[in-house]
């Protein structure tokens, strides 16, 4: 089949989709979620290079398996290619990136500029984060900014979108069309406050949230119960963070060194008891997906497979969350075919023309 995928602009894959009533963005992720389909998102491991091919190769392994790709903003306070840069590359090729914005590195002036720039490049989804402290990363001597926090950042983006104004009140000529996201961590203290904090994020503008790694399903279930009781599941799409653990040793390391990730002993015991720990880690991830997808109010999963990105397709496939649906995938389109038909010869012809020859043939 040539062209004509469901969520694609017929005029070009890099262009925004037609606006739909009730939608605030012109992106694919919002369409998938609002149609009530189970969404799958993932995270691109940002390269430490200036080569665009690195980004494209890393995005390619997700083709046809995910609805959106998170472009992380120096996650863990480690320096990588910026989220704006990754988004610029991905939108060119028609992918649906989720641009992460962390408050650690930029003040409100830089952030509002990036929101406009990202939206102009065709980024439809933005995820507002506080960001890890600089002590966690490779450059602990950096100055932490934290001018806004995730909540005021969400509100800033919402004001820009809905009121068409900067935080200062100055008018925008064209407001950005965005689907706003936030992060939740139901597994860190104060546990009673966490559902209310989601409510605050919704009040500030969050339309979807992605959770921290979920390894403790019973704990997540109690959280969701509270969230449903408060009525937040009708106002916000909740995507559960999942991911494969490479081994029991990694799990232990993550537990003691990465703040905010809660891994219960039972998980570590299960990994330790396995013959092939890597395979067991993947199976554990699939089992967790199968459990959380049944919880009412869960709209999708966010698969974070850091340095195991090749497993994302297998995990999504084996858990069967897509139910046969195929997310958007780059395919040969009608116009690509036209270009190929007319210009294919340049790949094969071996003509080296000098300017002198060109002048001669012109006469």
């Amino acid at each position: 089949m040539i062209g004509g995928q469901r969520d694609e602009n017929p005029a070009g894959i890099h262009l925004p989709l037609d606006p739909l009533p009730g939608h605030t963005s012109r992106g694919r992720l919002e369409r998938v979620l609002r149609r009530g389909e189970f969404a799958v998102t993932t995270e691109l491991n940002p390269p430490d290079s200036a080569d665009p091919e690195d980004v494209y190769n890393r995005a390619k392994i997700f083709d046809g398996w995910v609805d959106a790709i998170n472009a992380v903003d120096a996650s863990g306070a480690n320096c990588h290619m910026s989220s704006v840069g990754i988004c610029a590359l991905l939108t060119r090729m028609g992918y649906a990136p989720i641009m992460q914005i962390a408050c650690r590195d930029k003040n409100r002036i830089a952030i509002q500029g990036d929101v406009l720039g990202g939206a102009a490049m065709g980024v439809a989804n933005m995820l507002c984060l506080t960001g890890d402290g600089v002590q966690a990363g490779d450059q602990p001597g950096a100055k932490p900014v934290f001018d806004l926090d995730c909540m005021s950042l969400l509100e800033t983006c919402r004001i820009m979108r809905d009121n068409g104004k900067f935080l200062s009140g100055r008018k925008l000529t064209t407001p950005p069309q965005l689907f706003l996201g936030a992060a939740i961590n139901p597994f860190a203290p104060p546990i009673d406050f966490r559902p209310h904090r989601l409510g605050k994020k919704i009040a500030a503008g969050a339309q979807f949230v992605q959770s921290q790694y979920c390894f403790d399903v019973p704990m997540f279930r109690t959280y969701m119960q509270k969230v449903r009781d408060l009525g937040y599941t009708e106002q916000c799409f909740i995507l559960v963070g999942v991911g494969p653990l490479a081994s029991a040793k990694t799990a232990k390391w993550i537990r003691s060194n990465v703040p905010g990730i809660h891994i219960p002993d039972s998980v570590i015991k299960r990994l330790e008891g396995a013959q092939d720990q890597k395979k067991e880690g993947k199976q554990l991830c699939i089992d967790i997906i199968n459990e959380v997808k049944e919880i009412s109010g869960v709209s999708g999963v966010h698969v974070m497979a850091y340095r195991q990105e090749e497993y994302v397709a297998e995990i999504v496939d084996e858990s069967g969350v897509l139910k046969g649906r195929q997310p958007w995938k780059r395919e040969i389109r009608h116009d690509d075919q036209m270009v190929a038909d007319r210009l294919e010869h340049i790949l094969h012809d071996d003509i080296t023309e000098t300017q002198v020859d060109m002048v001669k043939t012109a006469h």
Partner: protein, 203 residues
């Protein structure tokens, strides 16, 4: 009771607590951090209800003194009031003088002591024991804020979304600013009432 235990000196404590990097959050050296005490700050959070009651009276009193502040000039009293406010709140809450105090909405736990200066709730990095991700020995400001707010009469104030900090108000007196605003609001309300009464009389 006379078991011989290895002597724990200050140096051992510092060595144990010192991070492996040179990073010093909030300019506090490892030596200072070990000696630092959060006792007063935590006392304030535990007695948040009492302090809430006290502050309400105190704010009323400040508002009563509005003619005095106005007579002397708000600009002129700023210095002395700030001097007192900085010391009192510095002792009670480890106040950082952001100039836009929201202690009543945060369970009497000052959010500017959070290394990320979050004003809307805890980040996702809170440790399982309720301590801070950045400063492992400090109880998370927001875990304490939630505890404190639940003791207070206005326990739902913690749920309002706070605006970003206006950095231009740093090192100014929040007491005087709140009083001036309250007085202005009161005058505006009185003017509106008078206006309404006048239009009512003329009609």
């Amino acid at each position: 009771m006379s078991e011989t235990q290895p002597a724990v000196t200050q140096a051992t404590l510092v060595k144990k607590a010192a991070p492996k990097s040179d990073y010093k959050p909030a300019d506090v050296s490892p030596q200072r951090r070990v000696q630092r005490s959060f006792a007063v700050r935590l006392w304030s959070v535990r007695h948040s209800r009492l302090l809430e009651w006290f502050y309400a009276r105190f704010a009323d009193m400040f508002l009563l003194l509005h003619p005095l502040w106005k007579g002397l000039g708000y600009g002129r009293v700023e210095g002395p009031v700030k001097f007192v406010e900085k010391r009192v709140k510095g002792f009670m809450f480890d106040c950082r003088m952001c100039g836009q105090c929201i202690l009543s909405s945060t369970g009497m736990s000052c959010p500017m002591n959070c290394p990320k200066q979050l004003r809307n709730g805890p980040c996702g990095g809170v440790r399982a024991n309720g301590n801070c991700e950045v400063e492992p020995d400090m109880p998370c400001v927001w875990v304490k804020a939630w505890e404190g707010s639940q003791n207070m009469v206005h326990s739902d104030r913690i749920l309002t979304v706070q605006k970003p900090v206006d950095q231009s108000l740093r090192e100014t007196s929040a007491w005087l600013r709140v009083t001036a605003q309250a007085a202005a609001a009161r005058e505006a309300a009185a003017a509106a009432k008078n206006g309404a009464a006048n239009t009512g009389a003329s009609a």
